[in-house]
Amino acid sequence: MSIIRQTAADLAAKIHSGELSSVEVTQAHLDRIAEVDSSVHAFLHVNAEGALKAAKAVDDDIAAGKAPASPLAGVPLALKDVFTTKDMPTTCGSKMLEGWRPPYDATLTRKLREAGIVILGKTNMDEFAMGSSTENSAYGPTRNPWDLDRIPGGSGGGSSAALAAFEAPLSIGTDTGGSIRQPGAVTGTVGVKPTYGGVSRYGLVAFSSSLDQGGPCARTVLDAALLHEIIGGHDPLDSTSIDAPVPAVVEAARLGAQGDLTGVRVGVVREFSGDGYAGGVERAFQAAVSQLKALGAEVIEVSCPNFVYALPAYYLIAPSECSSNLARFDAMRYGLRVADDGAHSAEEVMSLTREAGFGAEVKRRIMLGTYALSAGYYDAYYGSAQKVRTLITQDFTKAFEQVDVLVSPTTPTTAFKIGERADDPMAMYLADLCTIPSNLAGNAGMSVPCGLSDEDGLPVGLQIMAPAMADDRMYRVAAAYEAAAGGVIERAPQL
């Protein structure tokens, strides 16, 4: 099997045993990027020199007889361009930060480096992580390797497409309303949103601080688990980071891969089916549920009546927090500044810069949030949305009294065509219908490939949700399902 088609776990084992060098593995992926990225456009920046240097350092350590810095030392990774990196630009897919070189590394970036993981470059995303298609990037859309006319999901479409196009065996995403799980679903890859607070947000450029969560993306459940344990854990630099050990997700993935789910109670969310769900998605999901039963799981239907209010609540809470967070882009201390010609005041420069630097979706959300937070509307909009957040959390609490994990389709449809929803914000927002509840409640959720739609032959995602800090439960179920059903990525078209 060629280097680029192997799992991160296999590559790591071969690098650590000396069968392959990290430099060879890194070069193979850089070659692949050079070969296909002009059509996929997963990357905004490729750091070949830095990657090879990091790979060489891992090889030197192994040659010197040192133990690998981590189970994934020497394996390359693609990093979403929303985490700060000292040696690479950090743009967040925005003209506002074009060419910006942060003076510090995010905690997640630092952990990757310390683990000997080789950062290939920064991946494309919807501007400031706002979107479900990566069409909102100021640098042009990323294309889905399954069908180049379709979206790779968003906001982390670059990170999911890089995996599906075999440009990287591992990547990092962030999930505010589904931006890891939905791209995973539509590209046939694995995407995990850890429990809120499970992975540090220090150096993650903020969109909606109470919802944003970084997490691992990979082509297999075990690879995601290995990466999860490296990036997770308490960080004193993030006051919302949970001060507790990382759930034992690698052990859970290995246990699950043995294929026995006897005693595991799985709840199917009743509200996430019917109108708006593609037939091909529903049938693939039902087949996955049958597979879980065959593995010994006890499956029951569970009602979470307030989940239908999650999407409206999200589109009040996230824009409200975004309108506040993005006020920092004021053209004064870093980032873009226009019209500084002596004729304009600071406030005019600020407004003109924000007009020039932000795309339409970012402006829409800033104004929506400004509206929802303004006097006279606050109680009806933002206040009500916060109450819905309570109701959704209560739905989860009740559900998890009955079952160990909840399942649903990750997205109502497979990948749509580029341009299809670009002018209809509400249609675009529906892509995150099933993923948003876990962001509002802060519990864990992931998407694992569950076959191809019988309607269009495109990947479908199975979403598995677990209580906060019980991330290991969903890994166990995902690994068992993956072992039984097999992945889909081998069936992706050759680029």
Partner: protein, 103 residues
């Protein structure tokens, strides 16, 4: 809350844009008024279940006053802090004039 479907006028969009320090073009005012109206119509649904007896949740984690040890640790140098500045002068951020503006 009123039972009328929420809508948003061009003037309201212009007001929001001013509050958010966005210079919005004439054409954008029309587009945003329509889109924001559609979105507000869809999200107003939250008031259906938001009863007076339900406490609000602002954050998934019930955290208050997270402290760390009050010890000196290295920070950014002046040069690093200014490295991304659009303009700097004498070790400081240089900004356009802020006085003499209309109130």
């Amino acid at each position: 809350m009123s039972t009328e479907p929420p809508s948003i006028t061009r003037d309201e969009v212009a007001h929001l844009a001013r509050l958010a320090r966005l210079t919005v073009s004439e054409n954008e005012l029309d587009v945003f008024a329509g889109q924001l109206g559609d979105i507000l119509n869809a999200v107003a649904k939250v008031s259906e279940v938001a009863g007076a007896d339900i406490p609000p949740t602002s954050h998934a984690l019930p955290l208050t006053n997270v402290f760390r040890e009050d010890v000196v640790r290295p920070g950014l140098t002046q040069e690093q802090a200014l490295s991304g500045a659009p303009k700097s002068e004498d070790g400081r951020f240089a900004v356009p004039r802020i006085l003499g503006e209309e109130a």
